[in-house]
Assembly symmetry: C2
DNA sequence: GTGCTAATATATCAAACAGATACATCAAAA
DNA sequence: TTTTGATGTATCTGTTTGATATATTAGCAC
């Protein structure tokens, strides 16, 4: 992660669709994107400032835009779009999983099968709930695939559905194995 | 991540099997564990010091243990085992993905189908290579399942195999969809 | 029409982490 | 012989997370 910020590209990517405030960006990231990437105010606001200084984004509506309410919407510039394309065109990626569930599973020998089973079941419940949401997204996107952008959203959500179903399949197998081979 | 260190538990978990140096720990993490968790010297060494101060680990072999070579091996204490069990017994987990591939896919509309296809193919190659390694691990573990610890290692590796196969399945589908629906 | 609550919105901070690098020792190959 | 690569400890910078502080505004109850 260090030495190559990715949140920059998340922000630019979201702004490539429409102008947004920092708060809007946070909301978007907390939606479908949160399944594969996260963001916080702690890096969104500083990033917006940096990107503005670099000329990759611009304020599309300054302070006090009607009411006295402070609200700063940003939009992407041409250089911003170029930077986004450059990143997309670079094959190099870093994909990182940090699965505490698997960590607990790996060291499960220290706690015994009952506790491991309990942990797997908690994981299973969470995944089943998220899968429902993903399938809902997928169903909606299927209806609007003639829009080019939606093709990409659809593929992303499909990735989630496919992998979450594999997780559930594994959960069933794992539970069976742990129950069958009774602890001596 | 902040406010809840997990690397502590990785270190304790590894030391629960055998005494290790910081360097050994790094090597272990870079092996099978790296599929679902990572660690760096930058947090392993400070963690060992903290755990030692807390009495959860102890130096099992001090400096200059035969030759003049500096080598500090740590082993887990009873309190350390207790802390590990407490963590294992806590159902709360945070599972995080940070998939730059999916980020590029999600914003693929800005670059076009050819570039997105190229990125999917790079992902596919990487996953196919890693899957081979995972299957090799799995094959070896299948032979020694009578050891209780190996059951947990086996389940962890199985998780990897299962999900990586789902990734490849998705890659095939995604490539097909992107090629079929020719860009207008 | 006043007070309460939730959502909106900007902003900063400390802790945790990744990746790089520095430095040193040692074994084996070239 | 030297130089390469593995071992080993350690630190630094930049990035990210999660928490928190501070206001404003809209909706609702009373």
């Amino acid at each position: 992660m260090a030495r190559e910020k990715k949140i920059d590209m998340v922000v630019l990517g979201l702004l490539s669709h429409e102008p947004l405030t920092g708060y809007d960006i946070k909301k978007e990231i907390d939606g479908a994107i949160s399944f594969f990437w996260k963001g916080s105010f702690g890096n969104i606001y500083p990033t917006l400032k940096e990107l503005e200084a670099q000329g990759l984004v611009a304020r599309s509506a300054g302070k006090t835009e009607e009411s006295g309410r402070e609200k700063i919407a940003y939009s992407i510039t041409d250089s911003g779009r170029e930077a986004l394309k450059e990143w997309l065109n670079d094959e190099k990626v870093s994909n990182e999983l940090r699965y505490e569930t698997l960590l607990k599973l790996f060291f499960g020998g220290n706690a015994g099968r009952d506790i491991t089973l309990k942990n797997i079941e908690a994981f299973e419940r969470k995944i089943a709930a998220d899968l429902k949401l993903l399938k809902f997204y997928k169903g909606n996107l299927e209806k609007v695939l003639d829009d080019e952008d939606h093709v990409y959203f659809y593929l992303t959500v499909s990735f989630g559905v496919e992998t979450y179903e594999a997780y559930l399949k594994w959960c069933a197998k794992a539970k069976k194995l742990l129950k069958e081979r009774i602890k001596r």
